[in-house]
């Protein structure tokens, strides 16, 4: 070793030529790409709100009600988009996710309305558990099967999953003969959100506190690691800023979801069922975070952990960067491919839970065209189709962008044709901007 190694950690030093913004970004180590995406999302939100306010006389977008609904509607696509990152980073693609979602949904529908009631009796509290498990198992098995065809049969993922797009949709039809299964098990349908499918004010505060603790833990632990290995530290003011920002976002989200009250009808129903006196002014009962949103949150955290902190995730990136090198480094790339598609299938199953529970029904058409939205979300979120690059938070933000556009255009009364034109254009423009950004980074 040379004797230049510093025995103590230094603080990140800005270059003398940097302006204030650059200094700030360097000290906080905020990803400018993330900043750009959040900025774009906020612009879409404000844009729709102002358009509504100016043209229709009522800005309906930036209301607790709309944002709450937006979060629920994003969950299904968002969950699958995190898996799509895992698929696209190692240079694959999965076109079958929408169809697989449909298949998982009808399987769970049949299991919870026909199979399990016959075994346990109608309304048994374990029905939803086994129904969910059945959907996850079907998704995982189908995914693993497709992955095996890709890995061991050496058939391109595009072809296998294009076939899957047709096959699984067809199988879903055969399972229910084209009929709609509705209503679903009452506990199961809570997983799709709605007034009862949300955790309420207290529950949301608990989530919020856990979130803040998590933010602070990450910052403190990160600093400790850097000190241990003598890497440059962020200045204390930057750490503090990040902590306040992180906690501020979490608390803001809690305040937002708690400010959206139950509709009056539901309140009356609830009050009657629980023998509560409703005062003249009405009862304010908060929705709080919807369960599907918490599922998305959990999936996002788990997938981020997998992608950045586990060997599995490291190998996914390595395969994306250079498949041959990954193989030469002793990585079993074939087995990786099977695992990746199995995980994608699992997430399709989970998405099917959320999507069918939200509608309280299961049809073989559920999730039609979802593959396009999921791929678009991942790509808008910065996942490179040439492989090797992608983030989970990006894909979730991408899903929010896609869903915000949809919701916003419905709110201001654009018809379906214009919606398609806008969404398609945004996809192309977003990817182009990303390419420009990356070119400038080099």
């Amino acid at each position: 070793m040379t004797d230049q190694t510093t025995p103590v950690s230094t603080t990140i030093q800005p270059d003398p030529g940097d302006n204030a913004v650059k200094r700030f970004l360097k000290a906080t180590e905020i990803d400018t790409r993330l900043l750009g995406m959040v900025g774009a999302l906020l612009m879409i939100w404000i844009g729709f709100h102002l358009y509504g306010a100016l043209v229709n006389g009522f800005g309906a977008f930036l209301t607790p009600r709309n944002l709450w609904n937006l979060s629920v509607q994003t969950a299904s696509i968002g969950i699958m988009a995190t898996g799509m990152v895992l698929v696209i980073v190692p240079r694959h693609i999965d076109l079958s996710v929408g169809s697989l979602l449909g298949l998982c949904a009808v399987v769970m529908g049949v299991v919870q309305t026909e199979v399990l009631p016959a075994v346990f009796g109608l309304g048994h509290p374990m029905i939803w558990v086994f129904a969910v498990i059945s959907g996850l198992v079907v998704g995982t098995i189908v995914g693993a099967f497709q992955g095996a065809l890709i890995a061991y049969g050496k058939i391109p993922a595009f072809i296998v999953t294009l076939g899957g797009l047709l096959v699984w949709r067809g199988v879903a039809y055969l399972v229910v003969r084209g009929e709609t299964i509705s209503p679903l098990d009452s506990t199961f349908s809570l997983l799709g959100g709605g007034p009862y499918g949300a955790v309420g004010a207290v529950g949301s505060w608990i989530v919020g506190v856990l979130g803040c603790v998590g933010v602070i833990f990450l910052l403190v632990n990160g600093r400790r690691q850097r000190r241990k290995f003598h890497f440059p530290l962020r200045p204390v003011w930057a750490e503090t800023f990040l902590g306040i920002l992180g906690c501020g976002i979490v608390i803001g989200a809690v305040l937002l979801v708690n400010s959206y009250p139950w509709p009056r009808g539901i309140v009356r129903q609830y009050a009657e069922a629980n023998a509560i006196e409703v005062p003249e002014s009405g009862l304010f009962i908060s929705h709080g975070f919807a369960i599907p949103v918490l599922i998305l949150l959990a999936v996002g955290i788990a997938m981020t952990f997998i992608m950045t902190r586990t060997r599995f995730g490291r190998y996914v990136f390595a395969i994306g960067g250079n498949p041959e090198a990954a193989e030469l480094a002793g990585i079993n790339t074939k087995r990786m491919t099977v695992k990746i598609f199995a995980l994608m299938g699992f997430l399709c199953g989970l998405s099917a839970v959320v999507a069918s529970a939200r509608l309280n029904s299961a049809t073989n058409a559920l999730g039609t065209l979802d593959e396009l939205f999921v791929i678009a979300a991942a790509v808008i979120g910065g996942t490179s189709l040439s492989g090797g690059i992608g983030t989970i938070y990006g894909a979730i933000l991408g899903a929010f962008v896609m869903q915000s556009l949809q919701t916003g255009m419905v709110l201001i009364g654009f018809d379906a044709a214009i919606q398609q034109v806008v969404v398609g254009s945004v996809l192309v423009i977003a990817v182009y901007l990303d390419i420009l950004y990356r070119r400038r980074q080099k």
Partner: protein, 254 residues
């Protein structure tokens, strides 16, 4: 002088492999003793890389056998080779361009925390240590290796091969992209590893380097072994003659 009376560290016996109709390696046998540097020479496309890829597990040979310490081993993939303490610096370097130096160094053998998660900080610290020995000017620890120069990339590939206590080291043109100073450092490194009793297959087009570093050299042509010679017994011109004419020195030109 290398002691070549005991069992060889590695023996490649009668290796053949063909791609389509081309016999890339045609019944070649070479061996390697502890503390020995065995040079492999030959034209472009002679089959040098293909031969050593059979040993490193990148290719599966059609016929032939591999013995490590006199014991027959099955090498079906790179994991098998690593399990036999065989490390390889590939001609193509085999780096994942989107990952940083430390991630490439530890690819497939990541350091983990007690919880089983990858320990990036520890890996970066180790990477800084070994790069400090191999290429003290190296600074780009945070960048993906696609942002490195050819020589810097080569240093990363070399670091990866020597970090994990190899017994058998395969170096396929390790200095092709290096500057004179870095090339000298690799030469010193080879001598140091040799002194530790490690056996090295060195593929190099530079006959002078082979003369300086190797104990024996084998020359290949069109997939076949021309011959193996003791370096002290030959001159640069003898080696060049073998490469160009495909004949062992002293053999009558036909």
């Amino acid at each position: 002088m290398v002691d070549r009376t005991g069992t060889p560290l590695v023996e490649l016996r009668d290796i053949s492999i063909s791609f389509g109709g081309i016999k890339a390696v045609d019944h070649v046998s070479v061996d390697l003793y502890p503390g020995e540097v065995h040079g492999l020479l030959g034209h472009n496309g002679a089959g040098k890389s293909t031969l050593i890829k059979c040993l490193s597990g990148a290719y599966k040979m059609d016929t032939g056998e591999i013995l490590v310490n006199g014991r027959r081993v099955e090498i079906n993939n790179p994991r098998d080779a690593r399990a036999n303490n065989i490390e390889t610096i590939y001609q193509t370097l085999a780096l994942a361009d989107n990952l940083d130096a430390a991630s490439n160094l530890f690819l497939g053998r990541e350091l983990t925390t007690p919880l089983g998660t990858v320990n990036d900080a520890a890996m970066e610290a180790e990477c800084r240590k070994i790069m400090g020995q191999l290429n003290p000017n190296f600074r780009k620890f945070k960048d993906p290796v696609s942002a490195l120069s050819g020589g810097q990339r080569q240093s990363v590939a070399i670091a990866r091969a020597v970090y994990f206590d190899a017994r058998i080291l395969i170096m396929d043109e390790p200095t092709a992209a290096l500057g004179p100073h870095e090339t000298q450092m690799v030469a010193d490194l080879i001598k140091q590893l040799k002194a530790q009793g490690i056996g090295i297959f060195l593929i190099d087009h530079d006959v002078h380097a082979v003369m300086e570093l190797c104990d024996r050299a084998s020359v290949m042509k069109n997939g076949q072994l021309v011959g193996t010679v003791d370096i002290p017994d030959v001159t640069d011109d003898d080696l060049l003659g073998m490469i160009i004419l495909g004949k062992k020195p002293g053999q009558a030109a036909a």
